[in-house]
Symmetry: C2
């Protein structure tokens, strides 16, 4: 549908105003000349109230995440690619192949169109690289001071891989706990911008789509029992959730947990524990101990898993504690963070 | 997963704080004791990163909408039921049976839990009444002044009904244009609260899930060509979209267009045209003229379509104009609203 618009969108100096969310000509132009142009695919081009998609050949998986990260742009990414990666990852860790994304935008009046265009371009590039198109969307505008630039909710649909049964409830005593790489890069990339921390080299977000890594892992090790992306709350929250769902304990080996020196230093400075800090491109996998080396080899063979390591094991524990063997030979509890050290990191 | 929480949620006097979006214990408690308790179903209970769903038996449809309506509560509904109805309707007007919803929440710090609980209860009741469960969700919190109470994005998935082919691109000259009931109730219900208009009887939103009405219509009249819910931009925007998609003109009969007296009066007072005002529980259907009476009868036989009428016809017109035969025998253009008379009505 090509509409006759009187003025072209001024992507250089223009700003979002309330008419861009009003359901009339201005909104149609914004969708056509910015969103659909960047995200363009055969489904989005249908132009109806939603997307008409092919039939799926297997059980469905559905996941959704709102993204409210601040700042909108950060070292290694922005809210656009983050919102694509985050939802792809939540579908993929369910043992599913991500197929389609929906994206809904809440825009604040006054938002520069140039910034929005960068965000949408980043989203489009991430979706294209992942092979998961944004097939439908929505655009709302709220008055200045009633939002914070842009919020993006993405929802993903995928189809479960045959022969795979992963869930946070499947961990069993004796299983090995693996992680695909260093922890906390994303959260500390955001914090170091916000807190104006200066390092020799900036901390760069790990934001990435993990479905390729997961497909390779599951092909090599179909007996993997749990997959999860350690986002908000970091490794500590993720493992506590799994311990609760599975009714087990987990013991980590502090010396084995990978954290980049710059991330460790920034955490030290801010009084944070790297175990509580979000990653957006890391994978936690729990698998039978006997298959751990095979699984690690598969992870390491993928560009996103070169630094994969084994960091602990699942034990029988009715109290469902997550504990850590410290470098000094002691043990400490790894609890969930009670408060909120890191608001709006995703 | 039953977590050991030290304090119960104070649903009477409590407020949202940043910890409710931090990925730790407070968020888990909010999800468990409010969202999952109200919305509860077998899929949400899985507690993984998304929902594991059955396989679907046909081509998929996917639709998404952010909801930013202000005020959050209005005569006839609230943001909770609205966000369920709106997305169900966008799936249903694609000629599909809505099956599952995802819901993501952006909450403003300081939001009273009592208000949130009412909203979630309303959402749950709407989802239950519609038979379309909320199978997965997300919860983010932003600082006070960075959102406006609650924003809710819902995404729906459904499966296309066999033998049905509806699209905004399918209208043909000679077709009849039908509407399921009076227009503009929803938009004017919101505006009359906002503008403090006092009427003898308040204007009540028409918000409703239309999939039952649509199923009955399509069973009686499978040759229906276009279905659409006239939300933002009202009938005027909806018909202009269809005219553009289909490459046709449309001529409306002003005398036939149903508008309640109170809505007409409020529009008059505010200088608005009822044709630009959103409905959230009305259906526009375009079908071959020969089948129009059968289609109307099917609409009228359903509780949500008792006031269904024929309001116009599709004509050949390369300019794709939507026009109206006025009560006085003249013709006027029905253009899209240029600006934004009604921000944040959904
Ligand atoms: N930000 C966006 N990016 C990509 N596509 C979009 C975006 N916003 C809207 N669209 C697409 O534009 C079309 C019209 O969307 P729109 O939101 O107006 O329809 P609707 O949901 O039926 O109306 P409403 O939101 O008023 O209920 C849809 O096909 C939708 O997928
Ligand atoms: N508001 C909500 N209503 C219903 N269920 C919710 C809500 N918020 C979260 N959930 C559910 O709680 C579980 C955990 O959600 P959470 O958002 O913590 O997971 P995640 O998306 O993997 O993490 P992150 O959002 O940090 O990326 C999921 O099963 C999700 O469906
Ligand atoms: Mg997530
Ligand atoms: Mg996750
Ligand atoms: Mg929409
Ligand atoms: Mg809609
Ligand atoms: Mg619609
Ligand atoms: Mg989430």
């Amino acid at each position: 549908m090509r509409l006759p618009h009187s003025h072209p969108l001024d992507l250089e100096h223009g700003r979002i105003d309330l008419s861009h969310g009003a359901g009339g000509r201005a909104m149609a132009q914004l969708i056509e000349d910015l969103f659909a142009r960047e995200l363009g695919n055969e489904f989005l081009a249908q132009g109806d109230d939603g997307a008409r998609l092919p039939a799926c050949t297997g059980p469905l998986v559905m996941a959704t995440d709102a993204h409210v990260v601040s700042p909108l742009f950060f070292p290694g990414g922005d809210i656009g690619c983050l919102s694509v990666h985050g939802t792809i990852n939540d579908v993929a860790v369910m043992g599913a192949q991500p197929l389609y994304l929906a994206a809904s935008f809440v825009l604040e009046e006054g938002l520069p169109l140039a910034g929005l265009a960068r965000i949408v371009a980043s989203m489009a590039a991430a979706a294209r690289a992942a092979g998961v198109p944004v097939v439908t969307g929505d655009t709302k505008v709220v008055e200045r001071g009633k939002a914070d630039g842009v919020f993006i909710t993405t929802t993903g649909v995928g189809v479960r891989l045959a022969g795979i049964d992963v869930s946070g409830a499947n961990a069993r005593p004796g299983d090995a706990v693996l992680v695909s790489g260093p922890l906390g890069d994303h959260g500390m990339a955001i914090m170091s911008v916000r807190e104006n921390l200066a390092f020799d080299a900036p901390i760069v977000s790990d934001t990435a789509a993990l479905h390729g890594l997961i497909a390779d892992l599951l092909a090599a090790a179909p007996d993997v029992r749990v997959l999860r992306d350690p986002t908000r709350g970091g490794l500590a929250a993720t493992l506590n959730e799994i311990a609760h769902q599975s009714g087990v304990g987990i013991v980590l080996d502090e010396a084995a947990i990978p954290v980049r020196p710059a991330v460790a230093a920034a955490c030290e400075l801010l009084g944070l524990d790297p175990l509580d800090i979000a990653s957006e491109g890391r994978l936690i996998a729990i698998c039978p101990a006997a298959g751990a080396e095979r699984a690690l080899a598969a992870l390491r063979a993928h560009p996103l898993g070169t630094e994969a390591v084994r960091i602990g094991e699942v034990i029988a524990d009715e109290r469902r504690f997550v504990q850590m063997k410290t470098r000094f030979g002691g043990r400490r509890m790894v609890d969930w963070l009670a408060g909120d050290a890191l608001p709006r990191i995703c």
